[in-house]
Symmetry: C2
């Protein structure tokens, strides 16, 4: 059995990444979705183990010390990171695994797992990004401007990724992302078994 | 506009390659299918320009001399080859192009266009290959054995390809091949325009 492949997915706020990944998760239960560990307290409505594992800051620092994370970041005093072992276990079992990380996290993962395939989700245009980040029209131009700046900085690093999926029509973006993952399964290095199988009787 | 991508598709007799490509051709009219030039006379039922351009041996030799072919082979005294210019024209217009060639032709094309993506179509098993090559049961074991030998020699070179599609269920193999081609369109080097488009307003 060949090993699974690791997918790194990033996309700025306004790319619709979360909605896309939710659908991919439902349509492709064979893919292992990594759950981040996070050192901040649980918020109302959040469920342990759904999107995050909630741990203490000390526990997080121990994960860093023990090299148990594929990547991590600090944001507003809290730590976020992707536990390494569950991903490696999935890959070793032949399962594809998917990590949702930001551009810095993606760069860290690429260093330790250069064979990972990275995908960046893009909004279709500047105007549409602005529309999405404006929310329900209740935000000040200053808040929107700050969100735009962050999103555009991330988009500026899209070229570090292997693939770029443009999220104009949601269902198409979902199919595009699934198509990229499925097509990787036909890569020759993952089909060696079938070649050997056909040839061994020859 | 980014350039199109060249796909090289091979598969032994018994892989079902021709049937697959016929369906891909119908489903994906945006792909340019290269028509081979061939120096043998037209057979009953064949139509000029459908699967082949029929030209004289002298004309073929001139194509070789003028470096007008992406690849060529000689088989039973006849020349077969893929004209270069129509493929380059398609790629320059942003169209994907597809070449159906044998393993030797594929190796030749890779040398001159290393960016080409190559796909090998496989039968699902030795037993199924034997069944398909046995035809309607009217062939001698000697004929079948010779066909098997040729097919297995080609399969032995499958690892030279980027992707391997197993043709067990025809419709799935067609979707798999189309999926590989479509997913390549999301490669970052082909999405630079959209990145620039979004960023230029920033």
């Amino acid at each position: 059995m060949s090993k699974g492949r690791l997918y790194i997915v990033s996309g700025p706020s306004g790319s619709g990444k979360d909605t896309i990944l939710k659908e991919v998760f439902q349509k492709c239960p064979e893919i292992f979705f990594s759950i981040s560990s996070i050192s901040r307290p649980m918020r109302p409505g959040e469920v342990e183990g759904e999107k995050y594992h909630f741990i203490s800051k000390d526990e997080f620092l121990k994960l860093i010390d023990d090299d148990m994370l594929l990547e991590y970041n600090q944001f507003c005093g809290n730590y976020y990171g992707s536990p390494k072992q569950p991903v490696l276990d999935a890959l070793n079992c032949g399962r594809d695994a998917l990590l949702e990380v930001d551009v810095n996290g993606a760069a860290q993962v690429r260093k330790v797992m250069p064979e990972a395939v990275s995908i960046f989700i893009m909004p279709p245009s500047y105007a549409e990004l602005h529309r999405r980040l404006s929310g329900r029209g209740t935000e000040t131009e200053e808040v929107i401007g700050a969100r735009m700046k962050t999103a555009l900085q991330e988009i500026g690093r899209a070229c570090e990724y292997d693939y770029i999926v443009v999220n104009d029509v949601l269902s198409e973006a979902v199919d595009d992302l699934i198509g990229i993952i499925r097509s990787q399964r036909f890569k020759t290095e993952r089909q060696i078994n079938i070649i050997n199988e056909v040839l061994k009787n020859a």
